[in-house]
């Protein structure tokens, strides 16, 4: 019922956009001037600039997995977080149907150690270090590619680029002129719709995307979601060298939260909002000469009201108590960046940025004030080729923030082309993870009404004397690359030494509660392998990771055990697709994750294997390009995501899309 109502509403919007498209097209039709010498001698806007070009895997200073549109499409995934199942060493877990975890090791629901950038905007939230994956105002259809750095990369991307960096790059609106309509229905109670229109107005290319998503989540969880998003991007060409890009996005969401049968964490609704505005001014003076100034603002709001039932807890009779959660997180960020070539052998990328994080969270901070955190950053990366076959990448970021003071994160990598197609890379890199606001100054208690008066039940407490987590990574990688055959493979051996791992430690006096402390030193060693092959109409992506987790020291056995089990020893993913002729495309994904237990509300999970399949058919509908696709997720046995209540049974999804 809900689905049909929402789809009807989309239809109205399609009508409006259809009209705009028609009028736009007739007004914008220019008269083509005749050929002249200007066609040969005139200027052309700089398009493929340093910031747009993909760095070849064999020359990047870190291990990189590029997820492109073909991979996103053929994987059949509906949610953005799922695509990171394709990255070696990355773990994706569904805490609920509407809360996904994407992690690069020491997998934890909270306190993310992976930086996530959406067109340069950092989207992790400072309170818990989470990424609001389900609420991000971003449609998969608008993504050009995702570059995932495995391992720390703070020298380039700043603090929290600790166990990895996800860099999501959206498409330039000039690539998608026209209108796209897409719908999707399937399990569990899933009904999505999307309308996108992109066009041109003079020197402005623009795109607006509207989308709706809803589903019922796992059967045994209160985790349904209904989200409505709008996002837009405009690229204005000022002249052939200068451009202005602006973006905005807004999601309004209703998420199911809490556990069935729980007295103090029972089922309830969460109202969430996530929005951003961004502006980038860019000047390109040559292929290697670029300057940009970027400003963005992000805002996240989570609001819940939960009334407990009356229940008995130990000696206390708890009366119905209203627990109100309000969490506002806002970020302002200004950045200047410069890319330049100083000599034929030396390239630099440097810049500075300033950030303000503002949090208001009375429940978690124990007061009604607004907490501000400032951060200043300076970074410099140099790429030097002393001889043709050797590339030296050296960089460092200097960072100052209100929580930890000043720190330096350096990186050095040497890439040596042993022979054409064969590259050896050795690197060492250091990074910090700044503690989240909760870890630093959290004061999270709940005041319950009881028959003997109000009772303060403590839960989590920050610790202002914490040191940031630090990581030193050493890696050795071999890359075999045959671009003319569309083949590339890389094998990365690494050792991560993580110091001062922050963990909540249980205190029992008189109630059980948690205080954060630097509780462990952990070393992980492993091998990550990635193979990519495109042979005409067949494409293959393979990823394998072996991880060995060694607890060097831990505050207590519980902390050691949590960390030990947080990494699966092996993960495998495989994505294979083939195009039959012009119309038919078939693909298959295979995902295998060994036994593990995620820190932060996880449960011990057995090894699982999951097979997804997708079949898509392209056809013409009233002269427009259309595609119908059927996706089967987890074809075989059910498995558990994150917790044993989260049974992932076979799911079928059908999509229909049309471009005109």
């Amino acid at each position: 019922m809900k689905a049909s109502i929402n789809l009807a509403r989309w239809r109205v919007r399609i009508g409006i956009f259809g009209f705009l498209y028609v009028t736009g097209a007739s007004a914008a039709e220019p008269v083509t001037p005749p050929l002249s010498e200007q066609d040969f001698l005139g200027e052309v806007p700089m398009v493929l600039t340093v910031s747009r070009l993909v760095q070849p895997v064999s020359e990047a200073p870190a291990a990189v997995t590029v997820i492109d549109r073909d991979m996103i499409r053929t994987s059949g995934f509906r949610d953005l977080a799922d695509v990171f199942r394709l990255v070696p060493g990355f773990y994706v877990g569904l805490f609920t149907g509407n809360e996904q975890l994407v992690s690069g090791g020491l997998n934890n629901r909270f306190f993310g150690r992976v930086q996530v950038l959406l067109d340069g905007k950092s989207v992790y939230t400072p309170m818990f270090g989470l990424v609001p994956w389900s609420a991000l105002p971003l449609a998969l259809e608008d993504i050009e590619r995702i570059e995932v750095s495995r391992g720390p990369n703070a020298a380039t991307y700043g603090a929290n680029s600790f166990l990895g960096v996800i860099n999501i790059i959206t498409r330039h609106p000039a690539q998608d002129q026209g209108t796209l309509i897409a719908t999707r229905v399937g399990d569990p109670g899933l009904a999505d719709g999307l309308v996108r229109h992109a066009g041109k107005y003079g020197d402005l290319d623009y795109r607006v995307t509207l989308s709706h998503k809803q589903d019922n989540g796992f059967e045994l969880r209160n985790d349904s979601q209904r989200t409505n998003s709008i996002s837009g991007r405009g690229d204005l060409r000022i002249d052939n060298n200068k451009s202005l890009e602006f973006q905005f996005g807004y999601t309004g969401a209703l998420f199911g939260e809490g556990y069935f049968g729980s007295n103090d964490d029972g089922p309830r609704d969460q109202h969430a909002q996530s929005s951003y505005q961004q502006m980038v001014w860019r000047q390109v003076s040559g292929a290697d000469d670029e300057m940009s100034v970027q400003f963005y603002h992000t805002y996240n709001l989570n609001h819940e009201v939960f009334t407990t039932p009356a229940f008995t807890e130990g000696p206390f009779q708890i009366l119905p108590t209203v627990i109100r959660t309000d969490l506002d997180a806002e970020r302002f960020d200004l950045e200047f960046q410069r890319n330049q070539r100083l000599t034929p052998a030396l390239r630099l990328a440097w810049g500075l940025s300033s950030r303000l994080d503002r949090i208001h969270a009375p429940l978690y901070l124990g007061n009604d004030s607004t907490q501000d955190t400032q951060l200043q950053r300076l970074f410099l990366n140099a790429e030097w080729r002393p001889v043709a076959d050797l590339i030296v990448n050296a960089g460092a970021a200097w960072e100052h923030n209100d929580i930890n003071g000043t720190a330096l994160s350096p990186r050095l990598a040497l890439s040596y082309h042993l022979a054409p197609r064969h590259t050896l890379r050795a690197g060492v890199s250091r990074a910090l993870r700044t503690q989240t606001v909760l870890e630093d100054i959290g004061s999270y208690s709940v005041t319950a009404n009881t028959t003997v008066g109000p009772l303060v039940v403590p839960r989590f407490f920050g610790n202002a004397s914490l040191l940031p987590e630090s990581i030193v990574t050493r890696e050795l990688a071999y890359i075999f690359d045959v671009p003319e055959q569309g083949f590339s493979a890389d094998v990365r051996l690494f050792e991560d030494r993580v110091h001062n791992v922050i963990a909540p430690v249980k205190v029992i006096a008189p109630f059980e509660y948690f205080v954060f402390r630097n509780a462990a030193n952990v070393t992980t060693r492993g091998v990550q392998t990635q193979v990519r092959w495109r042979a005409g109409s067949t494409q293959l992506h393979f990823a394998h990771a072996y991880t060995k987790t060694i607890i060097d020291s831990a505050y207590n056995a519980a902390v050691a055990e949590d960390l030990q089990h947080s990494n699966p020893s092996n993960t495998i993913s495989l994505l294979l697709s083939h195009r039959f002729g012009n119309a038919l495309e078939a693909s298959m994904g295979y995902y295998n994750v060994r036994a593990m237990e995620v820190i932060g509300d996880g449960k011990p999970l057995k090894t699982y294997r999951r097979v997804d399949a997708r079949l898509a058919y392209d056809f013409q509908l009233n002269g427009s390009r259309a595609e119908a696709a059927l996706v089967m997720q987890n074809l075989f046995k059910p498995y558990y995501e994150y917790r044993t209540e989260n049974e992932f049974d076979s799911r079928a999804l059908a999509t229909l899309s049309m471009e005109f």
Partner: protein, 293 residues
Amino acid sequence: MGLAYAGPQVLVVLSEDGVAYHEAAEAMRGYFQGHDATVSLRAIRAVDLDNSAAAQAQADILVAVGVRAMQDLAMDARPTLNILVPQQNFELVRPPSKRDSRLFSAIYLDQPIARRLRLIQQLLPGRQHIGVLLGPTTLDRSKPLQKSAREQQLALEVAQVSSQEEIIPSLNQLLANSQVLLALPDPLIYNQNTAQSILLTSYRAQTPLIAYSKAYVQAGALAAVFSTPAQIGRQAAEMVMRALQTKNFVLPAPQYPKYFSVDVNYQVARSLGFVLKDEATLLNQMQAGAERE
């Protein structure tokens, strides 16, 4: 002005005041100074043609730089060499019967198609499927292009577009069957408004664009063979000198540029995973083959 000595007089008429036009004129002047100081060169703008009757009257040979100057001089009876003009414009402007090429000749801005295909072969050996988008201006190029491609054992994929909206859909289909995209100058297809989407689309398909101008290489095309205004100016001076040595100032036949340059965007090449020869080596190999054109 008022020089008593009456050596041959060359009048160079510039379509506009732009850098390219002056660069061509200066290259001619430099050549004459180095080879025959008796030749005097005078450069004026096309807009000033009406005010400089005296200078015009003295000129033995006219050199029109650019399309506008070519149009303005088309009816002049004296031998006229047109430079910095696309071949197509020259053929449209040339008065059919009145003049033979000895009186109205040209150095085209276009590179011979064989030369452009040879760049692809030198740059990307093994890439044999060449995609070409043709628009209203370039539609008639299809046949000579096919012929030239056959001679060099390349397979040509052609897609035609008649409006700007068709470019990206046609390009997407074309790229599915092409290993290289060869750009032919057509104002409907390649202009300031479309450069962005074409370059991004071909880059995403990992299909390099072989362009026809230096600016396109800077913008993100993989490479181009082209002639600079100075190179064309030098060739123009050589043609004028040859004409001056004949009795009635007979100009050589219209021709393609003799001197040319090759530019490669190595950033794009690296990103696409190509290991390419350096520009000097490419240019040498291209020049070695130029005699056969």
